[in-house]
């Protein structure tokens, strides 16, 4: 294109996983092994139902042991699989966060399993007085800190961009389109989709319990799918962000709502994480860390969407908004 700029290539950080990353990912299988080994060992001695909720010293609700095992072990397994995904070069930028979240989930699931099943075995009662033990199960979530610390920190280097303008003649109009693909979200959607089906089947077999979990996991899978492929356009109607797979408009800003737009490098954590983020004074659709189109609105708030090479749409949006 005539007015397209080439971006100065910044020295890219090596996206490959290091040995410490591999060790961290290997550690994520420890919870899976723990749950499997203890389940096999304790299989004969555990009652059909395990306590699920305590109110003070009293057990207020129970769940079938198989369901407890499937949920806690399933969480650990999903976390271990997410760890494997974290080794991919594509996930290099979010590797540490992914390991932290996966580790916390795995630790939490395993901790809850160990504490509940352990308590029942040690006390010999199917409705034991828990005392402070459930807290320990929750604290096991801190396991996530181990892979997080093991995985080396990747310095975040903002890439230099050359400024660009789109001079449009009075008789000219411009329209810019792109599709942003996020393979990680699609993979997550796939894995969570399978988990939803598994939970739904399990829930149906057991006649009820776990259906809430299936719905929750299903909704998360759907939202991953929604952000897996985005269509972004800038034209005389303003800025639009659509979910390409679900055909849903995620965000529309008319030109008269826009003061100007610029390209910026953003860190997801500064905007509240991944997905559709709303914070006081600003909102964002974040699917990656790095370059983003940041729009300043007439009401004083900011809206950002992460895109590769956002300079051109930023310049076009500014030009169109100024008309």
């Amino acid at each position: 294109m005539p007015d397209q700029t080439t971006i100065d290539a910044a020295p890219a950080l090596d996206p490959r996983a290091t040995n410490r990353d591999r060790l961290a990912v290997g550690l994520l299988w420890l919870p899976v092994v723990t749950v499997v080994v203890t389940a096999l060992q304790w299989h004969d001695r555990l009652p059909a139902e395990l306590p699920r909720q305590w109110n003070g010293t009293e057990v207020t609700s129970t769940s079938p042991t198989a369901l407890m095992l499937a949920i806690t072990g399933g969480i650990a397994l999903l976390a271990a699989l997410a760890g494997l995904a974290a080794l991919s070069r594509r996930t290099a930028d979010i590797r540490r966060t992914l390991l932290l979240v996966a580790g916390c989930a795995a630790g939490l699931g395993t901790g809850i399993w160990l504490v509940t099943a352990g308590l029942v075995l040690v006390t010999g009662s199917s409705k034991p007085d828990a005392g402070g033990w459930p807290l320990l199960g929750v604290l096991a979530g801190a396991f996530g800190l181990i892979p997080f610390v093991l995985s080396p920190r990747r310095p975040f280097e903002p890439q230099p961009y050359s400024p660009v303008s789109v001079p449009l003649a009075a008789s000219e109009t411009g329209a810019w389109f792109t599709t942003v693909r996020v393979p990680l979200f699609l993979w997550l959607a796939g894995v969570l989709g399978l988990a939803t089906v598994a939970l739904a089947v399990l829930s149906a077999v057991l006649g009820g319990p776990g259906s809430g979990g299936a719905v929750t996991v299903g909704l998360v899978a759907l939202s991953c799918l929604a952000f897996g492929r985005l269509r972004v356009s800038v034209d005389r109607r303003g800025l639009r962000v659509m979910s390409a797979l679900l055909g849903l408009p995620l965000r529309r800003l008319r030109l008269d709502q826009i003061v100007s737009a610029r390209a910026e490098t953003i860190a997801p954590m500064e905007w509240g994480g991944w997905g559709y983020r709303i914070r006081p004074g600003r909102s964002a659709i974040v699917v990656a860390s790095g370059p983003a189109l940041v729009v300043e609105r007439t009401n004083g708030t900011l809206f950002a969407v992460t895109l590769p090479e956002p300079e051109l749409p930023a310049a076009l949006l500014t030009t169109l908004a100024a008309r």
Partner: protein, 116 residues
């Protein structure tokens, strides 16, 4: 990619669009397999007639740059590259020159065939 249309230009709007798509394929902005916006969408974005966009897309399809499938819209052909674009440009230049000299299309074809 950026599409721009100049209503005041002497070049037809369909040709303006086609030239920009070709240029984007040559410089790599449009990678093979990239899907172009649906004709209706692009027309509405640029405030032009949908048939104008379709004319540009069809011209690019005939040049071997785009493929159009029912329900999937237009996308850059997997084998479309700078070479394909260069070849169609040379063919266009050859035909324009022949027209200027009053040489008919069958004569141009014969000229090419005798060299093949």
């Amino acid at each position: 990619m950026l599409f721009r249309v100049d209503q005041a230009s002497s070049v037809s709007i369909a040709d303006q669009l086609a030239v920009q798509v070709r240029a984007s394929v040559v410089d790599g902005t449009l990678a093979p397999g990239t899907r172009l916006p649906p004709a209706r969408e692009l027309a509405s974005a640029l405030d032009i007639n949908m048939h104008t966009v379709l004319r540009a897309y069809k011209q690019l399809r005939d040049d071997g740059i785009l493929e159009m499938r029912q329900g999937r819209g237009a996308s850059v052909r997997a084998d479309a590259d700078a070479g394909t674009v260069r070849l169609t440009e040379l063919a266009d230049a050859l035909l324009a020159e022949a027209r200027k000299l009053g040489v008919t299309l069958p004569d141009v074809l014969t000229l090419i065939q005798t060299r093949g």
